[in-house]
Amino acid sequence: MTLVKTTFDRRSFLKATALSGGGMMLGFSWMSSCQPALEQETGLTMPDEWFDINSYLKIGNNGVVSIFSPNPEFGQNVKTSMPMIVADELDIDWKNVVVEQAAYSPEQFPGAPFGQFTGGSRGIMSKWQPLRVAGASAKHMLKQAAAQTWQVPVEEITTEAGVLHHEISGKSAGYGEMASAAAQISVPEEVELKEPKDFKIIGHSKKNVEGKNIVTGKPMFGVDYQKEGMLIAMVVMPPAFGMTLKSIENAEEVRSMPGIKDVFPIKTYQDDYKQGYFDTNAFPELVAVVGNSTWETMKAKKAIKAEWEPIKSSDNVINRFGTDINVHTPAGLENTSDHNTQMRALMAKPGKIARRDGDPEGAFKKAAKIIERSYSAPYLAHNCMEPMNFFADVKGDKAHMAGPLQGPGLIEPTLAARLDIPEESIEIEMTRMGGGFGRRAYSHHMVEAALISQKVNAPVKLMYTREDDMTNGIYRPTYTATYRAALDENNNLLAFHVKAGGVPESPLFANRFPAGAIDNYLAEEFSIDSNITIGAFRAPRSNFMAGAEQSFLDELSEEMGKDPIEFRLELLKRAGDDPVGQTNDYDAARYAGVLELVRKNSSWGQTTSDSHRGVAAYFCHNTYAAHVLDLKIVNGKPLVQKVTCALDCGIVVNPDAATNMAEGAIVDGIGNALYGELTFKDGVPQKNNFHQYRMIRMSEAPRDIEVHFVQNEIDPTGMGEPPFPPIFGALANALYRATGRRHYSQPFIGEGISLG
């Protein structure tokens, strides 16, 4: 039994629900707001009365339980897995649960700005305890209510699947019957949590609660949002990074186009505004166009003529959650070829030393052999299938916002500052996101929507076109890394050196594997300023470093005449038994665990078919991942036959959904490694839609993916990102075995994939 302190009290919770005007406690969201629709959808009879138990749940008088999913959903399935955690501790039958997406409410779900954040694979990890406590304390309150009603000691009351029992007296009652009384009980200071072996829902696959809505095309995304009198807004951005708006040349003419209401400039941030870390925005000055319908507005957008001018270089102080950081934004129109030249130049110079163990320089001098390899990767666009959009209805000092975003707590202060209204006057509904991948942690478009609504004094839905979405910035940066290894005459590894850099950030993680496993180790880094904006992209930095590092270790193991898995396990053994340094940020035993699991499940070492295999493993975002990838070259094209994946994310809350995440990460990673690329010429992104930006298609996806989880009882960690980075390495290593050629720069298809 584990006793834990409850972190919420009833008073703050009631205050929170009162503040929200009851809007989120009553009725469901705008998409399925009426009871009959909900009954049809869930097959459950809705209760006559709901009783609020705590921030996360309410119980109906008929025993139906409604559980809030606090965090926004972008496909990682938290809307199902978070309520599963509550339901398990509450001890309720999953059949009797309905799930609601919570609105943004820092009082109800504390921890702003990250209390309701989806990203960094933190959702389940950070909510594990609060969700369990919510369920367990509600169960405790129901037991108390029953004990009082039946006049028996609370310790004698047991629960099972939504029913309270008192064995001695033979009394029993459904949760619904006790809900009213339970709502009067004060929240316990401490509650008892289940032992993992007693979980009935956690660890047992449950279908996506939105499955039926998705396959029948129900409105649920931001782009689907509707409101009486709503207008459609679009924006025109500068044609290149390094440019800004000077003037609109034909506003009158465009205003007279059919269905068009207005054309005007907007300015997302005021000059003296100190930007937050997620306020990144290359184009704070835009032309807005507002019309009655999407097609009319789109046509008007194309007709807008504006004059653009070069930006001036600037030095800004950005507020990174209370810490000031200086950011230099250079003027000028940038080119990929210049970025590459700059990166090569800095690679040739000493970088900023991030970690040094032993005497790496001395060891390299003594080496019998030095292996040195360089890796690179281009900018990537997120390309969420649902382009950026947001609904805004700004009236006086009130703002009602609705749309897809990962971090409402990150943007609410920005919007409050821009509209000069208190944060409490802003209501944010979180719609299901058509993908996020990090992109929707940045919500400048929400501010744009609000400014447009304010100007036209009407509700508006701001829609980005695909071209806007792809050319708006917030990209995965371009990176490079050079690895060096020093070997003695017996092929023993003497020293290891990594130098990594990028535009505008370095991808280096100095304390990750193989740091800690090698006596002489040096890590250096550099970065180059740019006006092309970047942002978090599924496993930031790891999404490059894993591929580079794991390719290099592969090449090194070959050079040393060792099996690639055995070589990694040897290094991990050293890091576990006798680690070098104090700051290694991985658990060597769990790292080795996924390699061993993937070795077993992929039948590693047994020569079977005519396909070629590569292995890679990585640790990031608190979860360990390893892949073995088998591929064939068919008609000159790589075809992945199978990926065997092993993961250690602790307790797996919803196994089939976690498997789906891993499969998706594998497909997405293979696509990005083979085809993903965005280049720049004079500040202009060279791709603006899917006819140019190659995305992986079904015929290019692996024929088979097998996902295995390490079984343990460690608290769960994230699944959205960790399986993604190492697939780049597994693919590169398999490509080498298939073609005889190492692949160093992404996208691999650009290097030409050929046999021999």
Binding site: G217, S293, W295, H691, S699, D704
Partner: protein, 152 residues
């Protein structure tokens, strides 16, 4: 603007829009059928797939003037209760992640099975390669199509 007579999901509808307006926006903006999604606007992603006389068609490239007098089915009209074999197979395999591409995927898959009830892997890939899923659910989509083919 002009009046167009359309047959959508078996129902006669009239809309007053410009003749070049793509069916995607007629459905979404004028008929409140928002299951059909915008992804690229240039027939490169498949998110907007509908059936035009039973054939999978990219509605972002289909002007309303070319749709008049033809039978159009959108995701909302694929089945009465969301129980088309393809929809059921999608639920059985719990295919969606974010779900945004899935209406288009389902419309492409259902048109394929209508024309070819027992497609090979290569035929499935051929029919589905125009539909992007950024979340990478392709292996489940393929498995679901095979399940649906068995049911049909």
């Amino acid at each position: 603007m002009a009046l167009f007579n359309l047959t959508i999901n078996g129902k006669k509808q009239q809309v007053d829009v410009g003749p070049s307006t793509p069916m995607l926006w007629v459905l979404r903006d004028h008929l409140n059928l928002v299951g059909t999604k915008y992804g690229c606007g240039i027939a490169a992603c498949g998110a907007c797939t509908i059936h035009l006389e039973g054939t999978a068609t990219r509605s972002c490239q289909l002007p309303v003037s070319a749709a008049e007098g033809k039978n159009i089915t959108s995701i909302e009209g694929l089945s009465e209760n969301g129980d088309h074999p393809v929809q059921q197979a999608w639920l059985e395999h719990d295919v969606p992640q974010c779900g945004y591409c899935q209406a288009g995927q389902i419309m492409s898959a259902s048109a394929l099975l209508e024309a070819n009830p027992n497609p090979s892997d290569a035929e499935i890939e051929n029919a589905m390669d125009g539909n992007i899923c950024r979340c990478g659910t392709y292996t489940r989509i393929k498995a679901a199509i095979k399940t649906a083919a068995q049911v049909k």
